[in-house]
Symmetry: C2
Subunit: 343 residues, 2 copies
């Protein structure tokens, strides 16, 4: 087999505000790979099938000297992130051709890996689409499931407010909250997303671009639980509408990712006045406690359709830069998936 | 016995910024009481000995229609707050002349009470000054002890930062943190307070008016626990200096009490990035869990001098308005106590 192009998405410049496709990231086709002859040194060739694009990736586009919970990207190197690949050649006895692996993948068509570090085999007995394993059954799904279990202290009849409720995390949170018997208020940035949130069970769903969050919460609250993906004004509105002893689960603050968090939070004094608890978390820390339960409980619910999910699939590795921007701006319709290749 | 003046501190006007003695509160001497003949209807006469003035009282000086965790004061009525009184006449079989009672007292020399509602008898076997029961052994002491037990998750060798560390709450927190084996950084607003904080064990004590909090924390941190009494810029500095998995105990945000919390908190995104937990609390909610332990553990430690406390005593009920202002401005030297009368 002749060498083929090994397309890569390279980190090219640190964005100042929003990332700019073609500038902050570039799609590069200068490398080739001969899959049958390339030296593996005991490793294996992983062919990338599906890549996940998530909000937290903006935080990795920074000066490497700045510390954060996630590793930085490096200028001139490929991006990397959650993905699913299939093994197409192997010299490693633990890894067979045809194995499907989930974990952190380089943003390139083919990668040579030494071993299973950072990867795990997917069994997929329910024959779900592989993309499900980077969404509802991947990091976003784990984020929703594990943090809801750990921090919500949900009680039947309480009220939850879920921001970015049409996303892969928020949409699972809505469904978990409904299964726990809560009233769910959910917000997103388009009417199409509002429709989806109602389909998956939100009692009150609204478009925050056309309806004021504070007004909805005043009418439908007070809220006992706030699932925060956005921060900023939405967080201020939730603080104002919080019930005594409310729980705020801080999953993300995307509203500040591209403007340096210049909006100060003015209503934080409600934390004292209303005895609120605000929990930030990193999902890795909850994995050990909930991993087994997650993979036992969730795939069958997804397979049976009891838990629904939605994807916005973009075809081709060259689309990654556009998808990163779409996710930061919220113009993607649902969980952003880049379909890199068929098997 | 002839009637005597029953001096009262009346709430007179809702302050816009800082309270103004003589305007927002007035000392009134228009009432008299004849202690021996006044009708008790089965109740008793309580003579006020000591009154506590605390930061939270500013929040009670509001439009009664505004909801909050504390009851509002009412225009034309006496203030009320924690205090200690002695029973000087009684028709209630549960209450004997000479009993000392702790609880919410009207800000007046003599009160007629029906029963023990809102009050409890103090035994005081260690013969501590009665004022201790509105400070280190009263609400401030309970606040420090119970919330530290509940929320700090302190581990030996960790670093705690305590704001308003010379106050009745902060100074006990410093000592509890040292007893748990932590390194303690403490701030206050005068060199005299800094000296006191060092005396009670703070490893690093500084005057936030002359030394930048952010610089101290950068040098001495990162911090695992922040005991927040102030909010505002101090909270922002603590968020910046927080260690991963840091715990923020939100006891108060006095920096915003007199300016409508106009300073927005800019560094809240660290809650996500560093997996912080921020706990607001109301002490009443922890009472049931820790009350018995508190009264068993703390009085002997205070009596033996192992736990130290400091008071700034003002003599005379007519001083209450001035003391409220001093506490809001932080010009009091230590726990503010109004000594109303000797026994």
């Amino acid at each position: 087999m002749a060498p083929v192009t090994n397309g890569r998405v390279l980190f090219n410049a640190i964005p100042e505000g929003f990332p700019v496709p073609g500038e902050t990231t570039v799609y590069d086709t200068s490398e080739t790979i001969d899959i049958e002859t390339v030296a593996l040194n005991g490793g294996f060739v992983l062919k990338t099938l599906e890549l996940s694009v998530d909000p937290y990736m903006r935080g990795r586009m920074r000066e490497p000297s700045k510390k954060s919970y996630s590793d930085p990207f490096f200028i001139g190197k490929p991006l990397n992130g959650y993905g699913v690949g299939v093994v197409i050649r192997s010299e490693n006895a633990e890894v067979q051709v045809g194995d499907h692996l989930y974990g952190i993948l380089e943003h390139q068509h083919y990668s040579i890996r030494k071993d299973l570090s950072g990867l795990e085999k997917i069994q997929n007995p329910d024959k779900l689409p592989w993309s499900a394993y980077i969404g509802v059954l991947g990091m976003p799904g784990k984020t929703a499931y594990m943090a809801w279990k750990e921090y919500s202290h949900a009680k039947k009849g309480e009220v939850a407010f879920v921001s970015t409720g049409a996303g892969p995390v928020g949409s699972l949170v809505i469904q978990l909250a409904k299964r726990d018997g809560l009233k769910v208020i959910a917000s997103a940035g388009s009417d199409e997303k509002v429709k989806f949130m109602k389909e998956i069970g939100a009692d009150v769903a609204f478009n925050y671009k056309t309806t004021k969050t504070a007004e909805v919460l005043e009418k439908e609250g007070p809220i006992d639980i706030f699932w925060d993906n956005v921060g900023g004004e939405t967080l201020d509105a939730a603080l104002e509408a919080a019930n005594n002893y409310g729980r705020f689960i801080e999953c993300g603050m995307i509203s500040g990712y591209n403007n340096g968090h210049s909006t100060g939070i003015k209503n934080l004094f409600h934390v004292v006045a209303k005895s609120l608890t605000i929990s930030g978390f990193i999902i890795f820390r909850l994995e050990a406690k909930y991993r087994e339960e997650f993979y036992k409980v969730l795939p069958p619910l997804v397979a049976s359709g009891e838990i629904k999910y939605s994807e916005d699939v973009y075809n081709g590795l060259d689309k990654v830069g556009d998808v990163i921007l779409a996710v930061q701006k919220g113009t993607n319709k649902a969980k952003a998936v880049v379909h890199v290749a068929d098997e």
